[in-house]
């Protein structure tokens, strides 16, 4: 079983761009080489701007490379919930902007001649629960009212039990890693400066722009875009976000029949089934994703991958499970992403809170922020609806209270134990937080029986990290920072590694 996404496993991507080790000046500096950063760069370069992309890992290696490669206008929080919190104009803006983003990806792939396996295909919503039928029908009606060609259907191309289902045609799939990697390569030939393995450890705003610092270099720019999925460092916006991990499992079917489609069920926990190709030829994979939980707050002893494998095995005749992987996503407090100038900033833009719908929202964010910079922050309708500084107390209060109490409860667990458990108790492949000399230490034992000891205090806001048994990582339950067993930052708002002990 491959423990990477099909895109990463097949692409076998290496870093090809240099590390930033000098001072440079550009018009726009972008932190993050995922779909948000690359789209923004594409939009800005096309309009004659000098752009630098500073990526902590390699291009597309973050969440973009771990996504499921599905492009669709529906959203995970569902439009009827957004309607309750906002109004129909907001629903309409989100629907039309997401449709624009799908068309944009198709256009750019064609224009730049990127073979990212883009293909149009239908999206389905179904339920086997009679109590959910009304919800499904309301969602369909709302989308129809806003001009979307969705309708109820009596058949599904996959053998799934359902009592009610809807079909939305003309959605799409693609290989997200090929798309961003190839687009980055095209941008590099047009003068875009790209740096990999260059983590920004400090960002500051000046009167004239921004300065981003890495360990060995510095970027001066008139505008900065933090396209890191969640703002890095300590940021007020993190109180309006919750980090989740979701899981994906891909398998080959015995009958080798893979109909085109993306299928969402309305059950809890939610599952999304889709078909894909890992080699760019005929469809050869069935993928199920879902089973999400708050990052760093997994249920002990719960086998998330096994759960998804069982789900697929119950519904289809599986010949072989080929890939399993996980990815992170962030929920926003009012169900709409935050895209635009950061709170209190004049030159720094953020884009976050995409839910698991990030390929489209990331593309949109790149376009919206690009437009904001090009039009000197003249507010357009999309900019207004996604505004990162919006104040929506009624729509956000329930999330805000619940999630920040949750964070407080995580901090409350940080109590002294007054005892030392011997390391010998830690088995191979396991990790544990132990108290040594009055300090919490994150101790894990790898497959070679080697012990790794790092501080258990998250370098972001000092939450105590928890061992993630599925990924063999240390995950912070407060704001979603993740670290390798050696303490190196993988993702999340943390900018520094866990302290070595």
């Amino acid at each position: 079983m491959n423990t990477q996404s099909p895109w990463k496993a097949q692409f076998n991507k290496q870093s090809i761009y240099p590390t930033l080790n000098q001072e440079i000046s550009v018009d726009i500096a972008i932190i993050g080489g995922g779909i948000t950063g690359i789209t923004a760069a594409q939009h800005l370069i096309q309009n004659g701007k000098k752009v630098a992309i500073i990526e902590a890992l390699s291009i597309g290696e973050g969440t973009t490379g771990d996504s499921t490669g599905n492009l669709y206008i529906p959203v995970q929080p569902y439009y009827q919930n957004i309607l309750k919190k906002f109004d129909n104009a907001t629903v309409n803006t989100i629907l039309s902007s997401r449709q624009f983003a799908i068309d944009y990806i198709e256009k750019i792939a064609a224009q730049e001649n990127i073979n990212c396996h883009f293909a149009r295909r239908p999206w389905f919503l179904y339920t086997n629960n009679p109590e959910q039928i009304k919800f499904l029908e309301t969602e369909v009606e709302l989308m129809k009212k806003n001009g979307v060609a969705i309708d109820l259907t009596t058949s599904l191309p996959l053998n799934l039990e359902f009592k009610s289902a809807a079909l939305l045609d003309n959605q799409a799939r693609f290989n997200p890693l090929i798309y961003v990697t190839e687009l980055a390569a095209r941008l590099a030939t047009k003068g875009c400066l790209i740096y990999e393995n260059s983590r920004v450890i400090q960002s500051e705003e000046t009167n004239n722009g921004v300065i981003f610092h890495t360990a060995q270099g510095k970027v001066f720019a008139k505008h900065g875009i933090i396209a890191t999925h969640t703002p890095i460092g300590v940021n007020f916006k993190q109180m309006c976000l919750a980090a989740y991990r979701s899981y994906g499992v891909a398998a080959h079917l015995e009958d080798n029949i893979y109909p085109e489609g993306n299928f969402w069920d309305l059950n809890q926990p939610h599952h999304a089934i889709c078909t894909h190709s890992d080699n760019g030829k005929a469809l050869n994979l069935i993928i199920v994703s879902g089973n999400h939980h708050k990052t760093g707050q997994r249920q002990p002893h719960h086998a998330y991958y096994q759960d998804l494998e069982n789900f697929l095995s119950e519904k289809f005749k599986i010949s072989k499970f080929v890939y399993h992987w996980s990815a992170q996503h962030y929920h926003s407090a009012d169900d709409v992403p935050y895209i635009g100038l950061a709170d209190g900033a004049k030159h720094t833009y953020i884009a976050t809170g995409y839910f698991a719908d990030g390929l489209i929202y990331g593309t949109l964010a790149g376009i919206i922020i690009g437009n904001a910079i090009l039009n000197n922050n003249k507010i357009g309708d999309w900019q207004k609806k996604y505004d990162a500084t919006r104040f929506t107390p009624i729509a956000s209060w329930s999330f805000f209270v619940k999630d920040n109490i949750n964070v407080l409860m995580q901090y409350l667990k940080d109590l002294p134990t007054f005892k030392t458990t011997p390391y010998e108790d830690i088995k191979i492949g396991k990790g544990k937080v132990l108290e040594i000399n009055h300090e919490k230490c994150a101790i894990s034992r790898d497959a070679n029986n080697q012990l790794h000891i790092v501080s258990a205090v998250c370098s972001h806001m000092k939450g105590i990290v928890n061992w993630n048994d599925e990924e063999k990582t240390w995950d912070c339950p407060c704001h979603g920072s993740r670290f390798t067993k050696e303490g190196k930052v993988i993702e999340g708002p943390a900018q520094f590694d866990l302290e070595k002990k």
Binding site: L412, L415, H438
Partner: protein, 112 residues
């Protein structure tokens, strides 16, 4: 009621002494204790405000000093969580002010 409030503040102070021992040794404070310490202080301060509202002869000076200590505590927590500065000096200031407030409250209780 004043004795009850003093008892709460003494327990809060014990938590504070435990926490400052970590800061002085450059170790991370257990955030669970820090939150309990903060919640206890809020409870004590709220009760003290209620006391000041309902009694003519009230320890207003102690209340003011406690509020200063509380403000320092909030800044301390923020600085600590956001890794902005080493909070040693601020922690000592917060502790000294809080002890001063507690002492003045005890003196008030036994002199009135």
């Amino acid at each position: 009621m004043l004795i009850f409030i003093i008892s709460i503040f003494i327990l809060v102070a014990l938590g504070g002494i435990y926490l400052i021992s970590f800061i002085l040794r450059n170790k991370n404070t257990p955030k669970g204790i820090a939150i309990i310490h903060g919640c206890g202080a809020i409870l004590g301060a709220v009760l003290l405000i209620i006391y000041c509202i309902f009694y003519k002869n009230a320890p207003i000076l102690s209340l003011i000093i406690f509020i200063i200590a509380a403000c320092a505590g909030i800044i301390l927590l923020h600085k600590d969580l956001s890794n902005t500065i080493s909070p040693k000096k601020l922690a000592i200031f917060h502790g000294v002010i809080a002890i001063l407030a507690l002492t003045s409250l005890i003196i008030f209780a036994y002199s009135s």
